[in-house]
């Protein structure tokens, strides 16, 4: 996957680039509107991560540029402005998704992967990870060709883990992904453990490898190997 990160905050930009690069993706970055347009004029990307508040203008200009040039980049807006109007405007001008700051890198990755999948896979295609095969449109999971039944939360969690395979994901990130950030989880993550325990048990029962690893109470890691 080839990505372009347009973000003026250096700290965030570097972390995003590092987080995405480790997975065999190519991730480039720039910090302003003009540099972004220059890059987009020369190169093609699979996905653009776009901050709206840039030093030399609003990020919406990138969307307009892409539309005018009939370029096919997927765009995910990352903005500090949690306003419905901005969200609708962005989605209307051709953005694929909208993420409000602050966000977890795992969440960003999951969203980008989802957009990328939507754009590149055909509707009957499956997402395959080793012995696990997921039928995305049908929301069904097979392990070693045996169908297993997952609850909605377990299914979402599995997709989330596969998108962030090899990464440690904090419980906060998992909770926000599954329950939304508007719901106050009271920093009580016991029930995440229950869901993960069930998911792991179902996978192991179907003779899958033990991918899910708990990391010292802070989160979980879906082992890539």
């Amino acid at each position: 996957m080839k990505l372009l990160v347009i973000e003026d905050e250096q700290g965030i930009r570097e972390n995003i680039v590092n987080y995405f690069n480790e997975d065999g993706n190519i991730c480039e970055s720039c910090d302003c509107l003009s540099a972004a347009i220059d890059k987009l004029a020369v190169f093609d990307y699979d996905c653009v991560l776009l901050d709206i508040g840039l030093p030399d203008g609003e990020g919406f200009a990138v969307l307009e540029y892409l539309q005018k040039q009939i370029k096919n980049e997927a765009v995910l807006i990352i903005s500090a402005r949690n306003s419905l109007n901005d969200k609708l405007k962005g989605l209307n001008v051709g953005a694929d998704d909208y993420l409000t700051k602050p966000f977890h890198l795992a969440e960003l990755k999951a969203r980008v992967v989802a957009i990328y999948r939507r754009r590149t896979f055909n509707s009957n295609n499956n997402l395959v990870f080793n012995e696990i095969s997921i039928n995305l449109p049908g929301r069904t999971v097979q392990v070693n060709q045996i169908q297993i039944t997952l609850t909605r939360k377990e299914y979402d969690m599995l997709l989330y883990f596969i998108a962030n395979k090899g990464k440690v994901i904090s419980k906060n990130a998992i909770a926000e992904h599954l329950w939304g950030d508007e719901m106050d989880m009271h920093n009580n993550f016991d029930f995440i453990y229950t869901h993960i325990k069930n998911l792991r048990k179902k996978l192991l029962d179907a003779n899958s490898n033990d991918y899910l690893k708990s990391i010292y109470g802070i989160g979980y890691k879906f082992m890539a190997e």
């Binding site: 972390n15 987080y19 500090a80 602050p102 904090s170 906060n172 329950w179 009271h186 869901h195 802070i218």
Partner: protein
């Protein structure tokens, strides 16, 4: 005491004292003039007598005088100055005594000196004074009546702009976007007052708006640093060389960051609600929403072993779905957070009210401050903004929200 009463009181005191003083001065002036007139008449009479005596060398007979009473008395005095004095006049026709004015003088004849005293009636002048006094009195009463009526009706009209302004000030709401609507009127003072009030209200509104913008901007500015912290933490935990002991610390930072970001979002939301910026209005089936929330919060509910009882009648409301979502999230969050293990949560929806009842600490919360910002129980992990947001959303839709503690249940009731 009303301003017009104060005004009337002053007017009455001043006019009565001025009129009374005037009447006294008037009385003396008229009396003086009348007396001078009488004295002139008397001088004329006595001169006539003197002329008669000089001409006829005898005293005139009583018939020669009209109604005057003239008395001649022999006297030995050689010199008698002419003197005027008040006396009693005996009206010969009506046979009664009246107030009179007399003059006495000396008349010399061959047979000796006579003291002549001429008395005339003062009745007419007294009568005149009485008439003048009564006219003055009637005028005084009329004047007072007119003043009172004028004050009552004209003053009322004059002060109308003042009461309009007062009403507008009373109805003034700093968060309203409408401007102060004050009509131009004929009185300069009131125009000035209106101008001053308008300027003041504009300034207050601007300050309020600035404060809101400040809150909004401050919250926005905090989002990017929060995003930096979050992404740094997400990157930090990827490092496998970190000592396991540090994970506890990181976990706490995560919790604090997530709380901070929630406070921020809540503040932004409050500003948005107060500015009426949320307008995605649609018909929302409240019963359906509540059932969905119960499902959404199922994990939290079952972790605490809370027994949920729902009694929901169908209720459609014309609202922003987003706001109702937040309202219910906060109510659920609150009633679950402050619930005891294996407690209960009773949700009741009827056509005119929504009630959330939950078990919890055996102590009533402060009904006065519970909906205020950053008011929370000291053990609460929440932002302290949840119920403030609930209250604000309710006031957007003009609903009443009450808190009550009865039968060891904390009750939140929204009256539609």
């Amino acid at each position: 005491m009303k301003l017009s009463s104060h005004y009337n009181k002053t007017i009455i005191i001043i006019s009565i004292s001025v009129l009374l003083a005037g009447a006294v001065i008037y009385y003396f002036a008229i009396s003086y003039i009348a007396r001078a007139q009488l004295d002139r008449d008397l001088t004329e009479e006595i001169d006539e007598v003197a002329d008669y005596v000089k001409l006829n060398h005898r005293l005139p007979r009583q018939i020669d005088f009209d109604e005057d009473v003239t008395i001649f008395a022999k006297t030995d005095q050689a010199v008698l100055p002419r003197t005027f004095f008040d006396t009693i006049y005996n009206n010969p026709k009506e046979k009664k005594n009246e107030a009179g004015r007399a003059v006495s003088g000396l008349i010399s004849l061959k047979e000796g000196n006579y003291k002549v005293t001429i008395t005339i009636s003062r009745e007419n002048t007294e009568y005149l004074i009485q008439i003048i006094a009564s006219i003055t009195f009637v005028l005084m009463v009329c004047l007072l009546l007119i003043l009172l009526l004028t004050n009552r009706y004209i003053l009322k009209g004059l002060w109308r702009p003042f009461y309009d302004t007062l009403y507008a000030i009373k109805a003034f709401n700093v968060s309203d976007n409408e401007n102060f609507d004050l009509r131009q009127n004929k009185v300069n003072e009131f125009n000035e007052l209106n101008k001053a009030v308008s300027v003041m209200s504009t300034r207050v509104k601007n300050d309020f708006q600035n404060l809101k913008h400040f809150t909004e901007n401050a919250s926005h500015e905090m989002l990017t640093p929060l995003a930096v912290i979050t992404s740094k933490l997400d990157t930090l935990i990827q490092d496998e060389t970190i000592k396991p002991q540090l994970y506890d610390q990181i976990s706490d930072i995560y919790a604090a960051t997530s709380k901070l970001s929630r406070i921020n979002q809540s503040l932004l939301l409050l500003v948005k609600i107060e500015n009426n910026l949320i307008d995605d209005i649609e018909w929302v089936d409240l019963a359906l929403q509540i059932s969905e929330k119960v499902r959404l919060f199922q994990d939290l509910i079952s972790t605490k072993g809370i027994q949920v009882t729902e009694e929901l009648e169908s209720k459609k409301i014309w609202v922003s779905k987003h706001l109702i979502d937040i309202l219910l999230n906060n109510l659920f969050s609150n009633t679950i957070r402050h619930n005891v293990d294996h407690g209960q949560l009773i949700i009741n929806l009827t056509a005119d009210k929504l009630t959330f009842q939950n078990s919890g600490p055996d102590k009533s919360l402060n009904e006065e401050t519970i909906f205020e910002r950053f008011q929370k129980g000291h053990k609460s992990e929440g932002t302290g903004l949840g119920l403030a947001i609930v209250k604000n959303i309710c006031s957007v839709y003009k609903w009443q929200i009450y808190y009550q503690y009865t039968n060891s249940l904390h009750t939140f009731q929204i009256q539609f």
